[in-house]
């Protein structure tokens, strides 16, 4: 199976006043296409920073990141945007829907950005039907509950058929039952579409449902294990 994400010797340092703060240090791992990987760790361990770097939202201080064979860590902002639009999808803890667009319009954005306006509407309708919001398409985010907003967000994440999907604490802002429903929906859609899913979470129950768990502490990988779901224990360092 092809490597979809390679992280090589990645470090990230922030300057705070006169102090240097190292958030990630010499991180290495590879993710193969089709898997579901959880990145876990306590608050401040560098999970979200790592996600931001892997998705090309930020630039590492040192090291390299590859999506397929494309080195994204050295691309400029617009080139990274093109890679994200082509291969990557996002699900956020706080949903990040655009408040001025309806549910349908929010889902259409990634496809329209690709220039696929013709299929944008029909595919977005399908996806909203799939996530159970067929009757809420013209509603604005402020008119939807948290769970509904996250379902719109999932529909949007899958709309451009991404090869790699990043989810940042996708159930973090939701209650138990709603969170469970969202998790199920996410895994079902992931399976249907054959997407590689990278989930950042500190919910160990959710992490246990993935194939592989990467544990971070103080900016370093302290363990990288396959789970029982995967059925083997090979480690890709």
């Amino acid at each position: 199976m092809q490597d979809i994400l390679r992280v090589r010797d990645v470090s990230k340092t922030f300057i705070s006043g006169s102090r240097e703060l190292t958030v990630l240090s010499e991180v290495n791992f590879t993710i193969k296409e089709g898997g579901i990987v959880a990145i876990v760790g306590p608050s401040g361990s560098g999970k979200t920073t790592l996600l931001g770097l892997c998705a090309g939202l930020d630039r590492p201080t040192t090291g390299e990141i590859f999506i397929f064979d494309q080195k994204i860590s050295h691309l400029d902002e617009d080139e990274k945007a093109a890679v994200r639009n082509q291969y990557v999808g996002f699900i956020f803890q706080n949903f990040q829907l655009i408040p001025t667009l309806t549910a349908l319009e929010n889902v259409m954005v990634p496809l329209e950005l690709q220039g696929n306006s013709k299929i944008a509407r029909s595919r977005s309708r399908e996806l909203l039907d799939r996530v159970g919001l067929g009757d809420r398409m013209t509603h604005y985010p402020s008119q939807l509950s948290g769970g509904e907003q996250q379902r719109v967000s999932i529909a949007r994440a899958f709309s451009n058929t991404p090869r790699l999907l990043f989810a940042d604490e996708p159930t973090g802002n939701l209650d138990g039952d709603t969170g469970d429903n969202i998790e199920n929906l996410l895994f079902e859609l992931n399976q249907e579409q054959g997407t590689t899913l990278v989930i950042v979470t500190h919910d160990l129950e959710l992490a246990q449902q993935t194939n592989r768990i990467i544990r971070l502490k103080s900016g370093k990988i302290i363990s990288d294990q396959l789970t029982l779901v995967h059925g083997s224990s090979s480690i890709h360092h």
């Binding site: 945007a81 093109a82 001025t100 667009l101 950005l113 949007r156 451009n160």
Partner: protein, 843 residues
Amino acid sequence: MARPAFIIKTALRDSRKDIGKLVMFMASIVLGIAALVAINSFNYNLVSDIDKQAATLLGADIVISENKPIPEELLTIADSLPGEKASQMQLFSMSYLPSVDETQFVNIRALEGGFPFYGILKTDPPEASDLFRNSKSVLVDDGMMIQYELGVGDSIKLGQATFEIAGRLQSAFGSSAIGGTFAPAVYMSKDHLTSTELVQPGSLVDYQYFYKTPDSFDADEWKSRKRKKFRDESVRIETIEDRKENLEEAFSNLNSFLNIVALVSLLLGCIGVASSVLIYIKTKIPSIAVFRCLGMKANQSFAIYFFQIFILGAIGVLVGAGLGALIQVYLPILFKDFLPYEVHMAFSGKAFAEGIAVGLIITTLFALGPLLGVRDVSPLQTLRVSSEGNIRKWSPWKILVYAAIVISIFFFLMRLTGSWRDGAVMTGGLFIAFLVLVAVAKLITWSIRKFFPTGWSYVFRQGLSNLYRPNNQTQTLLLSIGLGTSVLTMLFIIQGLLLKNVASMEAGNQPNTILYGIERDQKDALADLTRKFDLPIIQQVPIVTMALAGWQGKSKKEWMADTSRTASRWAINREARVSFRDTLSPDETLLEGTFTGHVKPGDSVFISLADNWARAMDVGIGDELVWNVQGAMLTTYVGSIREISFNSMNTRFFVLFPNGVLENAPQFQVLVTKSPNIETTARYRRDVVKAFPNVSVIDLGSILSALNDILTKVSYVIKFMAGFSILTGLIVLIASLLLSKFQRVKESVLLRTIGANRRQIFMINATEYMILGALSAATGIVLSLVGSYFMATQQLELDFKIQWLPIVGVFLFVVGMTVIIGLLNSREVLNKSPLEVLRKEVG
């Protein structure tokens, strides 16, 4: 790749819900452009009407005039002009109205010939415009007839002669309604002027000769050939082209004032545009970050918001231009009393198009500054929220936009002032004001942090610390409120100076009644009459009219031909109205030489000159001056040079003779007195005119009250126009304070959540806004004082004396409005539950 259609579609979709946030943006543009278009339309109509009506305003192709009889030699040259000729003698005098037993100061115009050749004297009845030329009758200004309830057929006494009123003069030819307030016009035939006995040696009479030339004749070419000869004798030649230029020049002050108002409104509008777009973009940062996260390029996200702003800006510009075109219909009504002719309310396509062009350029440039920040919004914002969104303060694009703003302001100001130098100076001034405000903001944040009053109560410390903490609004608010206050205050100061300069003519304890045209044998009887009214004789002086015939050994003719001459033309040609006495008056100070009060027959005559006239003539102590005293030559020498204080209303003389020389020369007297009230003035004036019809009584009190009427009208016009700027300024203030709302609401809610009560939140916000308002207003006022000083002394040549009361008013107004609007912004926090507010603001 996303197509332009997607950009437009997204721009439209995104603007649906948030259009309300751009109300301030639209309002700023609409008001700024409305003022510009209204004022420019009015100016263009004014100039175009001057072009159209110049011929009827002059009434002839060529007018030759002088305030003394024009030499025969020059008249012969003028009379050789082809076409028709007419003439007029114009003088001011008292009139007596027997039917109502009243007197009125009038402007007598004694006509001969068919003047006006262009335009008509509009009279009621119409035939009166011919009747008065052939009979002993007059046309009287309609306003005066209404004031005294006079009718056609009533009598009016001018000097020694009584005339019948043939008709009402309905259009005061070639002068404004305001001009007629002082001395209404009375037209009569020149044939009957002699019978009034008003024209005496030394009388102030304007002699005018009108010529109507054939169409093929080039009046301007004739003038340029003859000008020198006429100018040597101070005789003016005016053609239709000159009248156009003169009128345009006369209105240039009005133009300048209106242009300043337009500029102020436009600049405030621009600040409003920049502030509102900045607020709008701040609210859009989370959406932009999501767009970027989903793969939108920086240019695409910029294009979405640029498109929104540009379309709304263009709509605002169009609405503003339309509103301006409507308002300009009202302007001529507002100004009608100040214009010597009717200005037509035509739609000016040029002003409309210019307004749209200037509006689009300025709006786009000022919006671009904050809009460029869209390019800097990082997709990382979706994961880690920072309110500024990592927007860079400087980028090459921003520098380019700011440079374009400076250049466009320079071109706009250059066009406004008509000089690249003035344009550059004003642009530089604005730029310096901007830098000063930024520097003051930095100084304030630095010094509050450095000298923080740790002993103060918590609420004051919290309010004060808001001025320097991260995401503070000190610089933004200081810039917008400070700049807004600065331009508004400057407008007030200049308006105050303009009004004060006119009002300074007010007499106070000065003499208020001047009698002139008194003949020598009337002198004592008039003094007795004055004393009978218990009025003081403040001054009673003789006046002898003479002309300079030569000086320093050369005749005037020789001097005029001499290219090395240093004396000024005005000083040489001035008809000297000279007095004689044996002492200097209290308002005169001797600067050089010795004052001679009396001369014995046969001795050399030493005269005293006013310092400014001596300078203009380039003569000094001991120099010889030869005078033509109504035919007799008189040689004198400069004995002394005096400085005359111009603070009193007394008569002043450039040339003062000693006693013993001019006593027997043809002369008239001037008497200066002070009347305690209007009733006494009216009775005194009536008795004087009845007993001495040739004497004119100038009542400065009534002139001042007429001036006051004008001032009231002028200040009404100024206030109306300044209203534009004030309204735009308020919008800027609201827009600027909305900026700070986004920062403060969350903080206040958090404080409420952890237990702060309403009063504490109120005090924290009030402290912050009061300090911000006070500092911004104070900085703006200091800048406006500097700016208006330069404008008043360099541009408008006014005395710079400040009236502090309006400035204190502006200060209190700005501080008050800042606190009120700031607190209104945070009223939600005070009145609603914290959760409700947070949901609304975040959602």
